[in-house]
């Protein structure tokens, strides 16, 4: 019997990583069928993860990359033996 507390604290991350042992997975899915608040927690946890990924910044601007490359190569060619 998986409790809400065990689900949230101990099993949730492994559940999403799909690394739970089958015996636990069965009990957990049974719990979710009977527990709307845990389903809500699971859904919002997953959504949070998705939103974090979307919140990641755009790439370094191309001009900056070019400037950096030029600077580094100049710097390092001075240091070469």
């Amino acid at each position: 019997m998986v409790t809400c507390k065990e689900f949230i604290l101990d099993f949730l991350a492994d559940y999403l990583d799909e690394t739970l042992r089958p015996e636990i997975l069965v009990e957990l899915e049974q719990h979710l069928e009977e527990c709307p608040p845990c389903v809500a927690y699971l859904n919002t946890y997953k959504k949070t993860r998705d939103l974090v990924k979307e919140a990641a910044p755009a790439d370094m601007p191309q001009e900056m990359k070019a400037i950096l490359r030029k600077f580094l190569l100049q710097q390092l060619s001075k240091e070469k033996p």
Partner: protein, 203 residues
């Protein structure tokens, strides 16, 4: 992150002082290093400086790369450490341990509140609400507020897509420690979003 023969060839060329090998690495890794550095430092200028420092270090310290881990893993490790040091230099406050608020449980571990409502399951909210500038700001602020080590594993796993084992290798910690930190970080962010979105949905 897959080690290839191409990587080993690059390492050899770098050891020989071949700067074109560094150019290849920059081509391949600049975007990732920048995104990681920005995720940890939360600052564009700092992130750019970290990128610079990382590639300088790569070139100068290639003789310390022992080849036990993949080159990509080594680059991530150098980048993570550089970003954390840069961030620590900026921080004016001491970090407190992360204790995300949990739902109320009874003594048996069952939820005290048995219903779920739209306020609690905001995952069903139309995309427009979730991607509003207001929501982005709330989330970004919450990410800023995470302790640095928690944010580092969050960025490595949930943005860069490294596995738990790879993250553990990069930060030099055990897999259970990484998993615990990651879970707490996600729970803390979830709480912030729930507070914000729950209020909006009921108002």
């Amino acid at each position: 992150m897959v080690e290839t023969d191409l990587d080993l060839d690059l390492v050899e060329r770098l050891r020989g002082g071949d700067t074109t090998a560094l150019e290849v690495l920059m081509e391949r890794y600049t975007s990732r290093v920048y995104r990681l550095a920005h995720g940890i430092t939360r600052n564009e200028a700092d992130a750019q400086e970290v990128v610079q420092d990382v590639f300088l270090t790569l070139f100068r310290k290639i003789h310390t790369f022992e080849g036990r881990a993949a080159l990509g893993s080594w680059i991530y490790r150098v980048a993570t450490n550089a970003a954390l040091i840069k961030r620590r230099g900026r921080r004016t406050d001491r970090e407190v341990p992360l204790e995300p608020p949990l739902p109320a449980f009874d003594s048996d571990g069952h939820r005290l509140v048995k219903r779920a409502s739209a306020q609690t399951d905001w995952s069903q909210t139309p995309e427009a609400d979730l991607l509003s500038q207001e929501t982005r700001d709330i989330l970004n602020k919450a990410i800023d507020s995470l302790p640095d080590q928690h944010r580092a594993v969050l960025v490595l796993r949930d943005i860069e897509g490294l596995s738990n084992e790879e993250v553990a290798q990069v930060v030099g910690d055990s897999v259970p420690a990484v998993k615990s930190r990651l879970h707490r970080a996600r729970m803390a962010l979830r709480e912030e979003l729930t507070r914000h979105l729950g209020l909006r949905l009921s108002g």
